[in-house]
Symmetry: C2
Subunit: 332 residues, 2 copies
């Protein structure tokens, strides 16, 4: 097993977020389930955009946010995703490269547009996502960068991608490549509805050898079809080497080789926008893990990054996470 | 003089802002003068974008920000500007309509792109703008909506537009239309460099009958070519019916028919991004003036709106200015 120059490489949907505020009644009106992500068609997204309030555009995408977070901690990171040759493709590319991430996708001309997600933030800070995948629907194994995967300590997979056959092939090929180079593989379950749609495939994937599994309460309970978090957690610890389960304000629990460790949530004054909370939690943990910090430090980095991201609009760090972690004395 | 249904109609560049952070050294590197606005070509903007940090996209444009502010106060407002049939044109249109502004421009296909401004915010919160006008360079009198102008209490003109002949014709035609309907005409000087390039035209425009003139210290001193603010202010009060001069943290002074009134700046905890400070100051004042509030109330609304906008990234209000002003007891 050779040394790597990259800490984490991620694969996911390359998305630009269009973030606006709304009240709960608006979510009901458009038939959106609060706190979830749903895939919508071009016509639906135009209809929602026409009625939602004014917005801001910020690069997003679940794994892409995680990878941007790893880079913000000072980690070497790479991302694989599919973009069109359009304005949103240029925005996505600029922002992820500007934070120091290796991103080598060639923009596709005369195609469906770059993915976008209409993110509606309610007064409680909760986000509800309406995602039009556009060109990301055709992401497949041809987008994977085998050299980058072999050069990365950790391969990180976004569960959202697992909705389509081409993306599933990209997952399986990426995992094969990472395994053959002796790398770790991490997976985020992403969304309870997504887990529900693909439960058996997820279980098969996890049991075939995911090293690090990230999930929140509803996702892990959906995976194991139980209303008990403890039951779900117990099954997860048997199915993976390392399970990292997040519980919003209750913090998180890390299960590793028979051990378990609780990590407190980082206190913040006010939740502005929860978009990216799980993504940035994963960023802190993966950076710490790749740099071989103790699990407790990795957990603290995770909580810190999640707290930073929910204190402002958007799912990309507004400050250097490296500096933030150093100022708190978590890392030197 | 008939009653109007619209409080303020504005004409200006329809711009989407691309806002990122940088240090002072970066401004020197790209040859930008801190705090100013400069017009750049397509190649220049691509070169700056390639080296600047990650960014967020938020609708902007000086007069457009003012008009959005008037709408946020609960005013009836309209905007005239030119957009291309592209992603930024759709973003601009969505955001200004979403806040309740009448905006009826037809997107132009197969044209130069919609205007954008790379806005670099330094750690002190100061903004430096690099604007690529694209399709706005061809804005002319054909974009003006005569019905809207006749229906508006105030016509508001953005000085930035005054760089091109077509836009100057649009100004003159708009003013003629407003005058013939007995409406008030307001002008913002926008930028000291812009004033410097077109001093004589600005003086002629102002002396031909601008009712309300907005300027900051450097703009009014540039207009009258003096290093004394008091001298400049004295000349301004002779040249206009109402001169509203802003002095950043020192507040503002309103000169009206021989009277003068000082308005304190609204205190804020920390300046995050000064983009739009002058635009939103004008919004508060114009809303108050159109609704025939006393000058002092109009000034307070102006200071409040300016304080709100510099407390976050972007030049569009993040909260309802109407609610904010009501909560402070400034308006019922």
């Amino acid at each position: 097993m050779s040394a790597t120059r990259t800490d984490v490489v991620g694969i996911g949907n390359a998305i630009v977020d269009i973030i606006g505020r709304c009240d709960d009644a608006y979510l009901t009106k458009i038939g959106a389930s609060k706190g979830s992500m749903r895939l919508v068609e071009a016509g639906d997204i135009a209809a929602i955009y026409a009625t939602m309030g004014s917005a801001v555009e910020i690069s997003g995408g679940s794994a892409a946010n995680t990878i941007a977070g790893v880079a913000s901690f000072g980690g070497q990171a790479g991302f694989m995703g599919k973009i069109a040759d359009d304005e949103f493709g240029r925005i996505f590319t600029h922002d992820i490269r500007a934070i120091g991430v290796a991103f080598n996708s060639t923009p596709i001309a005369n195609s469906d547009p770059t993915s976008r997600s209409l993110i509606l933030v309610t007064p409680d800070g909760e986000r509800t996502m309406n995602t039009y995948l556009g060109i990301s629907t055709s992401l497949d194994e041809s987008q994977i960068d085998r050299t980058l995967i072999r050069d990365s300590s950790i391969l990180y997979l976004e569960g959202y991608l697992f909705d389509r056959e081409g993306a599933k092939r990209a997952f399986r090929e990426s995992i094969k490549e990472a395994r053959s180079a002796g790398r770790s593989v991490a997976l985020s379950l992403s969304d309870a509805f997504c887990v529900d749609r693909h439960r058996n495939d997820f279980l098969e994937l996890i049991r075939s050898g995911i090293d690090i599994l990230f999930a929140n309460e509803s996702e892990i309970q959906s995976l194991y079809q139980t209303s008990s978090f403890d039951d779900a957690a117990n099954t997860a610890r048997q199915d993976t080497k390392l399970a990292v389960l997040t519980r919003s304000a209750k913090g998180s629990i890390i299960f590793s080789q028979g051990e378990s460790m609780e990590i407190a949530a980082e206190p913040i004054k006010r939740v502005i926008d929860t978009t990216g909370a799980g993504d940035l939690y994963a960023a802190g943990f993966l950076f710490g893990y790749a740099r071989q910090y103790p699990l407790e430090i990795s957990g603290k980095l995770a909580s810190l990054a999640a707290a930073e991201i929910i204190s402002h609009i958007g799912a990309r760090p507004a400050v250097s996470l490296q500096k933030l972690a150093q100022d708190r004395g978590i890392i030197p």
